[in-house]
């Protein structure tokens, strides 16, 4: 039996692009355990594309399904479930300013009553396990205002993972990391992928995108191109892709 894709886009064009888009619509499937990266030049609407693909923004045309359910007419229950299963985080995803690190991780899971299926103490243990895995040095007793940006982001990731999502949607996830902590965080993501988590991300780190992706989406103001492999992208002769990939910061790959 074929597995149902977690996210499926059919002829999708976002509504919120800040420019007139006349390129191709997106036809795309994200399956369990797959990684898809969206790359492209600045101001190409990558953020709008990823928000629309994850069901947070309306589409101008086309159809978006999450776990087989069309997102156009979701009931409140379906909306809640889809938001738990498709965990979206952007670089500055905010934590609850009045709660410490651990409460921030636990609060959404408690709201969704995940402690009913396990016990509250088990939920806390699971949260601590994820946090230990992501970074053992995070200070969980402090309020977010006293926590560094990269640790805040890791807490937000742990908070999302505690909800047991099918896909982690990350918009520019490495913005607050230095080189060392970025590599550690990327290793953590790799472990999650190996466990079967799907990842959809927008990143400026083209090296990382090409290393981990099963599919790559190249977004520009003119068009949207999909590649099934790193080699297919590197072999592409479309001028804008070629120009982007031969930029100094991306050249080491070619």
């Amino acid at each position: 039996m074929t597995q149902q894709p977690i996210i499926q886009c059919e002829n999708l064009i976002p509504r919120g692009l800040p420019f007139e888009y006349q390129g191709d619509a997106l036809n795309f499937k994200l399956n369990k355990g797959e990684v898809t990266c969206i790359i492209g030049p600045n101001y190409s609407g990558k953020g709008v594309w990823i928000r629309t693909i994850s069901g947070l923004e309306d589409q101008q045309s086309g159809k978006l399904s999450i776990n087989g359910i069309d997102t156009q007419n979701l009931s409140l229950e379906e909306w809640t479930h889809s938001r738990m299963k498709v965990a979206y985080l952007h670089e500055d995803t905010a934590l609850l300013s009045a709660a410490n690190g651990l409460i921030n991780v636990l609060a959404p899971a408690l709201y969704h009553q995940l402690d009913r299926s396990s016990k509250k103490t088990l939920l806390a243990e699971k949260a601590l396990e994820i946090l230990e895995d992501i970074d053992p040095d995070i200070n969980l007793d402090d309020l977010p205002a006293y926590i560094t940006k990269d640790h805040q982001y890791k807490i937000a990731i742990a908070r999302a993972l505690l909800l047991e999502p099918d896909v982690l949607v990350l918009n520019n996830p490495f913005a607050h990391f230095n080189s060392d902590s970025k590599h550690k965080f990327q290793a953590f993501l790799k472990k999650q992928i190996d466990k079967g988590l799907s990842i959809l991300l927008v990143t400026h780190d083209v090296h990382y995108a090409l290393d981990v992706s099963d599919k790559i989406i190249f977004a520009s103001q003119e068009n949207l191109l999909q590649f099934d492999s790193k080699q297919a992208l590197l072999n592409c002769n479309t001028p804008i892709v070629h120009e982007f990939m031969t930029r100094p910061e991306n050249q080491a790959i070619t």
Binding site: L56, L76, W79, T80, H81, S82, R83, M84, A87, Y88, L89, D92, T93, A94, L95, L96, S97, A98, P108, L110, Y111, H112, Q113, A156, R159, A160, L163
Partner: protein
């Protein structure tokens, strides 16, 4: 032509203003109805997903305010209860004094002063809290995780503020009456201590229902106005104090109007 335009502008202004106010009240009613609908559809009274938010709000609004309420209750006891008893002593019998104390302290001054404390303390805190949460993207982050803001943030604040308003007024009224009656017994006539029993005997179920209804409506309206204004903050930090001021002014206006309407409904 110009004169007609000026006349239209002058006569049109109160009409437009009235329509705006009516629409605002409809907005508030819709807002609170949706919040409570979402809360009741997902929660049971004593088994709520937002239990901790509700308890925290009750502690902030009710328990943390006890010192202020006690002080104001004692001051009201001295300024109103004691003065009313001493003045009424000259003109009326004990029956009149009892009715006067119930009407003035229990049904008017108590709920009204408690409402003013809640507006200035809890109402403003709710606007700043929700406004800053909106401004810093905390609300967006919660919604992105499937958390219903009505259920998680708005309804608990409305429910707990209504409960706290009632509890605070009971506490405030008891202190205001007891302190005033004790002072009167000490300084005017020791038999005035009997007012404690007379008042408790005169507090009929009808008066209790008025007392409870009035306080719950006050608390409900104050929290609704505060939540509504807090969530109207958009992008700028300057909107937070603006919305806070607006919330305080609107809550005070609503409390005055509701108090007047309820008084009319009760006594006529």
């Amino acid at each position: 032509m110009q004169a007609i335009e000026i006349a239209n502008t002058v006569t049109g202004w109160p009409g437009r203003k009235l329509i705006r106010q009516v629409l605002y009240v409809i907005n508030l009613m819709t807002f609170s109805t949706l919040a409570l609908r979402d809360w009741f559809s997902k929660n049971k009274i004593f088994d709520s997903r937002s239990y901790s938010t509700t308890v925290a709000q009750i502690i902030f609004t009710g328990v943390d305010a006890l010192a202020t309420i006690s002080f104001l209750g004692l001051a009201t006891g001295f300024i109103f209860t004691f003065r009313l008893i001493s003045i009424s002593n000259t003109y009326g019998g004990t029956e009149d004094i009892t009715n006067l104390l119930i009407t003035v302290i229990c049904l008017s001054a108590g709920p009204f002063l408690a409402a003013i404390i809640i507006i200035s303390r809890t109402g403003s805190a709710i606007v700043v809290d929700l406004g800053n949460m909106k401004l810093h993207g905390e609300i967006e982050a919660l919604e992105n995780m499937g958390i219903n803001i009505n259920d998680y943030l708005v309804a608990p604040r409305i429910i707990s503020t209504a409960i706290s308003q009632l509890a605070i007024t009971v506490y405030f009224t008891v202190i205001a009456l007891l302190s005033g009656i004790l002072l009167s017994a000490i300084f005017i006539n020791p038999t005035y201590i009997n007012f404690i029993f007379k008042i408790s005997n005169s507090f009929t179920p009808y008066l209790i229902s008025i007392f409870v209804t009035k306080n719950i409506i006050f608390g409900f309206v104050i929290a609704t106005v505060a939540c509504y204004n807090g969530l109207r903050v958009q992008n700028s930090a300057t909107e937070v104090p603006q919305r806070t001021t607006a919330s305080i002014v609107q809550s005070l206006s609503f409390v005055f109007v509701i108090d007047a309407l309820l008084t009319l409904a009760i006594f006529y």
